[in-house]
């Protein structure tokens, strides 16, 4: 019994270094992505994360063109493209009649097409797959340091902007009346979003980088009402998805990145059905309270 347990859960990580690296990287990503995802969800910007994940593609592609599959070049390219699209969409929204959502949609669609074009022009299909789907099982030291650094910076960043970000999310007009913090806080938050997407895209690729943010956040919302608890539950369910996803990929020969996201998706579906705020509890005809 214990042997079986060991073979299923421990041995893959004990035996293979690439599994340990994948575990460290995915867990660090899950922790950092939790607060990002929870605030994206609560600010009704869930799809903004998705759009931004596409928007970083041409930057990474230009970095790839300049230096091949080089981590620093693609990271810097992705960061620059992501921040440019976030700031550009915000500027268009303020200066024109277009809302922020449509401005962002326009930017990221062009950006995505440009990115795919650049990669296809120069590289092979394998390279394109690498950029789109990540290489969680091939994280080198450089990539691990990058992911760990981003996770650390993200948690520190949230510690700094937490209160103004909550105020800006609940009552932006009030925040504007007591402090000129609204615009800077929004920008820092978008910066954290881009940073985490760039970190996640090395491991999971642009198409799934957002999965580790939004799925655990949505799951957490279905269990708890308190904001801090929600971030904790999201981080926990993200880490669970990372571990279970990696094991599933090892035992059943699934691609690792999608396996992690599918596990997070399974947690979401289970939460949706069985969560404290889920469908089942809402449907159960419980007698209502007296007051």
């Amino acid at each position: 019994m214990l042997d079986l347990f060991h073979a299923a859960l421990i041995q893959p990580f004990a035996e293979f270094e690439f599994m340990r690296r994948a575990l460290v990287g995915a867990v660090a990503l899950a922790i950092a992505a939790a607060p990002v995802g929870v605030f994206l969800m609560l600010r009704r910007m869930s799809l903004t994360g998705d759009a931004m994940s596409h928007a970083i593609l041409p930057g990474a592609a230009i970095g790839y063109l300049a230096a091949g599959l080089s981590l620093p070049a693609m990271t810097i390219g992705g960061l620059v493209a992501g921040v440019a699209v976030a700031v550009g969409a915000g500027a268009v929204a303020r200066a024109s009649v277009l809302g922020e959502d449509v401005a962002l949609a326009a930017f990221y669609l062009v950006s995505l097409a440009l990115g795919v074009t650049i990669v296809s022009m120069k590289g092979s299909n394998v390279d394109l797959l690498h950029v789109l789907f990540g290489t969680v099982l091939a994280l080198d030291d450089q990539a691990l340091f990058l992911i760990a650094g981003i996770a650390t910076a993200t948690l520190l960043g949230f510690a700094v902007i937490f209160r103004p970000l909550v105020a800006e999310s609940v009552d932006p007009v009030f925040l504007a009346s007591v402090a000129r913090a609204g615009a800077p806080v929004h920008l820092v938050f978008m910066g954290l979003v881009v940073m985490n997407l760039v970190g996640a895209f090395h491991a999971l690729g642009t198409l799934m980088a957002v999965g580790l943010m939004m799925l655990p956040a949505a799951s957490a919302r279905l269990w708890v009402d308190d904001l801090s608890a929600m971030i904790g539950v999201a981080a926990g369910s993200g880490m669970l998805a990372a571990i279970v996803g990696l094991l599933a990929s090892y035992h059943f020969g699934l691609p690792a990145g999608p396996a992690i996201i599918l596990t997070a998706g399974l947690v979401y579906v289970l939460s949706l059905v069985f969560g404290r705020r889920g469908l089942l509890v809402a449907r159960l005809t419980r007698p209502h309270l007296e007051a």
Partner: protein
């Protein structure tokens, strides 16, 4: 208004608006210190715009707003259609504690003294025992009480209220009116936009009747005469969507 009253807020030739269209046009006047003043006028008269200008949420297109004896950060503003996301998971206590911003900023801790202030404010608006409830579970009247509690916590020298009794039942209105009376007794300057003349007469000494420009200013009882009100309505009806650039010389 009596001529010898020291002014808390003074505006000179003030024009405020959106997309270059003036909503408040060449307004000159002021609000007396420690006095409760109502701003009256038909819809579209620029009442909320004037409050936004004083509260610093809108920059003047022309003219000046001067604050005497206090700074912009001493103003507390209760907007009319507060853009509050009531689905955000925040407790009533934390929401009201946002009013402490001036004292504790983005990083300061909430200690015993701050807790006492928030508790006292909740008690003052009759929301004892609601501390841990999420704001999304409050009724409209309870939410307005919470907004007033936050104003109490802000402890501001000047309080701007934009139609604070809209969609609020009689009992809540009476409680909140008591609170405004209390603010007046504490020497605070209160400026409020109202449509209800009875409440205006009970709460305020001065009234400013505007229709983008000043129609009348003085004691409430004199301002709300039928002649003034009719004049204000006519001025709004003559609004021109295709207006030319205003060349009126500064007063």
């Amino acid at each position: 208004m009596n001529a010898q009253d020291p002014l808390a807020i003074e505006f000179t030739d003030l024009t405020l608006g959106y997309d270059r269209h003036p909503a408040v046009h060449h307004l000159t006047g002021g609000f007396a210190r420690g006095v409760t003043t109502v701003v009256l006028g038909p819809n579209g008269a620029g009442k909320s715009t004037l409050l936004k200008g004083i509260g610093g949420l809108l920059s003047p297109l022309g003219g000046k707003i001067r604050l005497h004896g206090f700074e912009a950060r001493d103003i507390a503003h209760l907007p009319q259609l507060a853009e509050i996301d009531r689905s955000f998971p925040i407790s009533v206590f934390d929401f009201v504690a946002l009013g402490l911003w001036r004292r504790i900023g983005a990083f300061g801790g909430i200690g015993a003294e701050e807790r006492r202030r928030v508790g006292a404010a909740l008690a003052a608006v009759g929301l004892d025992g609601f501390e841990r409830r999420a704001i999304g579970t409050l009724s409209g009247g309870q939410m307005q009480r919470a907004m007033f509690a936050r104003l109490v916590v802000q402890d501001a020298t000047v309080i701007l209220l934009d139609e604070p009794f809209n969609a609020v039942d009689r009992r809540t209105t009476e409680d909140l009116i008591d609170l405004v009376h209390h603010w007046h007794d504490e020497g605070r300057t209160v400026v409020m936009v109202l449509h209800d003349h009875d409440i205006a007469l009970r709460l305020a000494r001065d009234a400013l009747l505007i229709a983008r420009e000043t129609v009348a200013f003085g004691p409430v009882g004199e301002v709300i005469g039928e002649e003034n009100l009719a004049r204000a309505r006519r001025m709004i009806e003559s609004f021109d969507d295709h207006a030319h650039i205003c060349h009126r010389p500064a007063a």
